[in-house]
Amino acid sequence: MISVLTPLPVLLPLLGAAGALLVGRHPWTQRTLSILVLSAVLTVSVLLLLLADAGGAAAISVGGWPVPLGIVLVVDRLSALMLVVATTVGLGVLVFAVGQGSADGDEETPLSIFHPTFLVLMAGVANAFLAGDLFNLYVGFEILLTASYVLLTLGGSAPRIRAGITYIVVSLMSSLIFLAAIGLVYAATGTVNMAQLAGRLAELPAGIQVLLQSMLLIAFAIKAAIFPLSAWLPDSYPTAPAPVTAVFAGLLTKVGVYAIIRTQTLLFPTGALDDVLMWAALATMLIGILGAIAQTDIRRILSFTLVSHIGYMVFGIALATAAGLAGAIFYVVHHIAIQTTLFLVAGLVERQGGSTAIDRLGGLAKASPLLAVLFFVPAMNLAGIPPFSGFIGKLGLLQAGVQGGGWLPLTLVAAGAVTSLLTLLAVSRVWTRAFWRPPTQSPVLDTDQAAADEAGPDLVPEPVGAPASGDGATGGDGRLPNGATAADDAGSRAAARRAAWARHTAVATASTPPADQMGDPRVEPPLRPLPSVMVASTAAMVAVTVALTALAGPLYEIADRAAEDLRGRGPYLEAVFGDVGETP
């Protein structure tokens, strides 16, 4: 059974992509097809996880070639778990994209290439998770990267091309380093099969081992955005369409983290570079989160928190204990879901407020309480507030770090706690500015009555009806009537401030006409209603992140068992060398 199911997560999306390309002229057929395919992959992945968790790892050799020669796909607990999470967020994002596409029309993607490319991306991700040899891992990376190049530059507008070029050149560098590392590994050992490498690499001189390990780690660290190889990420992610950014942020960096886990546990279990990884994790956490605090755009803040939290996972890997690995695996699962959800919410915020710059947003909590809830829950989860899975993941990692002992792990524990606090600061800045502060697009600020109402009794000492505020409000030039009473002055000063405010925000909110064009000052600004499919898919993703909290117990147990497997290496090697006979 497992030998039939294993190739499906790669095969189904590729076939689905071909089908989606064929029916490109019928948008609804295409959308239905893509969703059906990903739902099928999700079902298969869940089955694989159940089978792998019950029966241990399994390997199948594609095409029936004997094991060291042919391509091997391996399912163990880690890869099955990653598949389930990846497909879940992929499906959520796809539904979100369908909602956005049906609300906006497809003018940004005239060739309706989004769905086929997205499915190819998912196939590449699945291939990378299942790959049993280094070269197949490289091919999986290339599939998902090539798809991501297309998705990132969708529509080919100037900002996307600019961001895309940075992203592509950096990704190409990492691919070339990876390929060169594969060549060197092959030259040194005569195989690229990971299970075989596990035995042969250990026989090499220590210096060559460290060289090969560091080349592989550099290649994966670029993909995973580990400092100092992370600068490309906040530069290139924020310009892409919301669903694309969401799936990139959730999945692509985690594929790099997954590859690092495999390299560190299966190929190089000696831990020669663990200290280097510790330092990298420390720098990634702190520098990433400091970057997030400096930013004023929601997507860029989220991009920097993404970089920062990669540091937690690297920390867990660098500890090289079962507890550390389990914490890292749990954190990967949590972070894939949470980061995707937050980027989807950022997409909704952009639709509602017309911008993602927090200087220009305001009053979203009042304008759309549902959106506020959708942001608040995953944001607190990201920051690691106790009931949520973010807290559980961080707690697990920090406990593992304290168990590890030594001054370097303890430093990282402290840095992890600080990073968590600073994450809270970063997301609460978004919360207070974009959601909590008074609405910035208030056209009612234009009239005396409204100004007085707005000001409230403590700003305007005299009762309502102060006569002079109209001038200030319309001109906004700070002109003050000299002979006015104190009340007038207070009114006009406040009005001048409000006028400047209104002018400022009128440009900012794309969906709202400028204040002076509003006929009736009492009319509410016509907020674009959020398409229900987008809200529903985002809400479903938020529900998934909350479910991660509820299911944290069983999930952490799976992560524990996966970490045991990884530490022991036995199940993986047995699966590859023992189950050779089974071919599909």
Partner: protein, 180 residues
């Protein structure tokens, strides 16, 4: 087996030239650099299969004298991938030229803007520059704010100074009774 020095020298030369070109701002040079690096890597993978021998698999050579077929298969895959990506990159460069009439690596404007921002420490704010309602409760002015003259002068100054400045850092609009 006689070690050959030709391949390592070629590979090293291609890597050096490729990295040099990749560091340029012009995208065409970046593309050329990428092609050189790709070819250097392909040669590296090919040479990792050991010295060249007879044609493998088809059965005209003794197994001991065959070339390694695996590296050739790997290189074929890598060449195809490199070729496809190069075509895509070329299209991007052309698109960039069409859009902005330049084919250089762009600047992240938002990043520069954030870097240019000046930090304001709350302790360095002069309370006298703030609107009276923004001052802290312990500020001396708020203790005897019945002196309307002082307030009015401050308000004049404020309104003139900030009327044209569209920044939310200056102050916030009133929150009370937001007319809903």
């Amino acid at each position: 087996m006689t070690p050959t020095v030709v391949l390592p020298v070629i590979i090293g030369g291609l890597y050096a030239a490729g990295v040099y070109l990749l560091l340029d701002r012009s995208l065409t040079r970046v593309l050329l650099g990428f092609l050189l690096l790709g070819n250097a890597t392909n040669l590296l993978v090919l040479s990792s299969g050991g010295p060249a021998g007879g044609p493998p698999i088809i059965g005209v050579t003794e197994p001991g004298e065959m070339s390694d077929p695996l590296t050739q298969a790997l290189v074929l895959t890598a060449i195809v991938i490199t070729f496809g990506i190069a075509a895509f990159l070329l299209a991007m460069i052309y698109r960039s030229w069409r859009l902005v009439r330049q084919e250089v690596v762009g600047v992240d404007e938002e990043d520069r803007r954030v870097a240019r921002r000046e930090g304001i420490h709350a302790d360095e704010l002069d309370p006298d520059d703030l609107a009276p309602e923004d001052r802290s409760a312990a500020h001396a002015d708020s203790l005897h704010s019945s002196s309307l003259e002082g307030d009015r002068a401050a308000e004049h100054a404020l309104a003139e100074r900030y009327a044209g400045i569209p920044s939310d850092d200056v102050d916030l609009p009133p929150t009370r009774g937001a007319a809903r």
